[in-house]
Amino acid sequence: MSAARPPEGARPEVRSTKVHMSPIRLAGARTLFNKEVLRFWKVSFQTVGAPVLTAVMYLLVFGHTLENHVKVYGTVGYTAFLIPGLVMMSVLQNAFANASSSLIQSKITGNLVFLLVAPLSHWAWFAAYVGAAIVRGLAVGFGVAVVTMWFALPGLDNILWVLVFALLGSGLMGALGLIAGLWAEKFDQMAAFQNFIIMPMTFLSGVFYSVQSLPPLWLAVSHANPFFYMIDGFRHGFFGVSDVSPWISLGVVGAAFVVVSGIALELLRRGYKIRH
């Protein structure tokens, strides 16, 4: 142990910390963002590889059984129709999973204390967790797109819609994951949130079918599901056709993003279930 003499840089005055300090909020938020990205990237086999495989399974099974029986929007083959929906579903589920599982793990293992004692604002927490959720969502979505496009090419009508809905949708789901992670105290509560809210809403959002084919009651139900607008708007970017106008979808998804983000920020500001 060489504790004898501190080198010049080791003086403890507050002054010495200030010298090295970049604008703290930005630097702190950036570190937390990097940490959150690194966290899933270190286990990318699970966090990116596994969801890509799941999406390919869906494509193989549904595409094989339905390709010769179903045409959507008149001319689009079923497999091609399915691909953008599967990509977006993967984006949404993984954005949610990233924020929620990171928070609940830190809460349960207790290492959230490292963040709680840091001088990070609620904006920094929000930006970092949602930002990393977007990165994970996009990484998985990109992976699903690259693999599934071997099976069929859905075309690309307008990449701007694709990007806008991917970003806004993954941001919305990241913020929702943040709320779920703050609220849940146990892993089974988180599983319930995922299985009873997120899964049904994504499955019933028109990933696997055009909602125009549904009976009136279920069509109305679908129109009340914000996930429907995320999928529909995203798909519009590929086919130039959709169940509702992409501008309506943008309005609904944008409004949902603002509301959910507002709730997440307020919970963070209050330290809901994390500062007692």
Binding site: M1, S2, A3, P6, P7, G9, A10, R11, P12, E13, V14, S16, T17, H20, M21, S22, P23, I24, R25, A27, G28, R30, T31, L32, N34, K35, L38, R39, K42, V43, S106, T109, G110, N111, V113, F114, L115, L116, V117, A118, P119, L120, S121, G271, R275, H276
Partner: protein
């Protein structure tokens, strides 16, 4: 006048709508550069007080300042000035020791901090573990990393919440050597511990908490001399006379009786002789912090 390192001002904390009162108007200051001990039995409110200081909990009343910065209204400045070693042995299993330290440093806005990180690793005996994953470390090594994480942004105020609970002698020595050095260099240190000999050796001033209130607050030397300053220890198989039994501490065959001065020692010995109590291995020593602690805690009974 410089701001106190830490200022607790009438801090109270209640749970369940006021049914449980964990802290009840706690006030004291820790001066810059001071090595301060916070003692008390389990449930006295030590950890609650530190949680409020760290921003992990919110006070129901009163306020806490770190170098003049309110821990709620001006939390960013207050937290930058604080380095907290938590009581629980927690870690992030995704990262190596060096990664964990770089990340913690970044949260505080301190980048390119590897020179100081290396020095921390060296001083805490972690240099050869820098690239080991946190999961692979033993409990004692994880504890060292917690200390390093708390110091990574060079906080002027260091808080150690029972840092030596259940750790081996080597780490205890390493830790105290390093913390004492930081204290000499000007860091204020707030220590809570169950090991009273540690507090006696290290802390220049001590506060004792009981049931959420401060029951003693003084210089360690004043606490040791102000209360019973002498203690009589001996072994005996016989029962003590009633007037001594009520004020003695008996552990097996060993009896300890505190006295305030030499005359009182004479009186106690006289009483023992008169009662024909056979006494072996009699010694007269200076009272230690444990004696003082017990006397104060008994005196503070409701």
């Amino acid at each position: 006048m410089p701001n106190a390192a830490i200022s607790f001002q009438n801090v109270s904390k209640t749970y369940r709508g006021g049914a449980v009162r964990a802290l009840d108007g706690v006030s004291f200051d820790i001066e810059p550069g001071e090595f301060f001990g916070l003692l008390g039995p389990n449930g006295a409110g030590k950890t609650t007080l530190i949680s409020i200081l760290a921003g992990l909990a919110r006070a129901s009343g009163g306020r806490v300042l770190v170098q003049g910065h309110d821990v709620v209204d001006d939390y960013a400045e207050a937290r930058k000035a604080l380095g907290i070693v938590p009581q629980e042995l927690v870690f992030d299993p995704f990262f190596t020791v060096r990664e964990a330290l770089r990340i913690q440093s970044g949260y505080f806005g301190v980048r390119n901090n590897d020179a100081w990180i290396d020095e921390l690793l060296e001083n805490l005996g972690l240099a050869d573990k820098a690239n080991a994953n946190m999961r692979q470390l033993s409990g004692g090594m994880k504890r060292r990393v917690l200390v390093a994480q708390a110091l990574v942004h060079r906080p002027p105020v260091i808080v150690l919440d029972e840092p030596t609970a259940g750790v081996d002698v080597e780490l205890r020595q390493t830790l105290w050597k390093f913390v004492a050095r930081l204290n000499r260099e000007g860091h204020a240190v707030l220590l809570t511990t169950h090991y009273l000999e540690e507090a006696e050796a290290l802390c220049s001033r001590i506060a004792m908490l009981k049931l959420g209130r401060v029951v003693a607050l003084d210089r360690t030397s004043a606490l040791l001399s102000g209360k019973a300053s002498t203690v009589l220890r001996f072994k005996t198989d016989a029962a003590l006379p009633a007037e001594l039994a009520s004020r003695s501490r008996v552990t097996g065959r060993i009896a300890q009786i505190t006295a305030h001065d030499v005359a009182e020692v004479e009186t106690i010995l006289g009483t023992l002789r008169a009662a024909h109590v056979p006494v072996e291995d009699l010694e007269i020593g200076r009272a230690d912090l444990e004696d003082v602690f017990l006397e104060i805690m008994q005196g503070a009974k409701q």
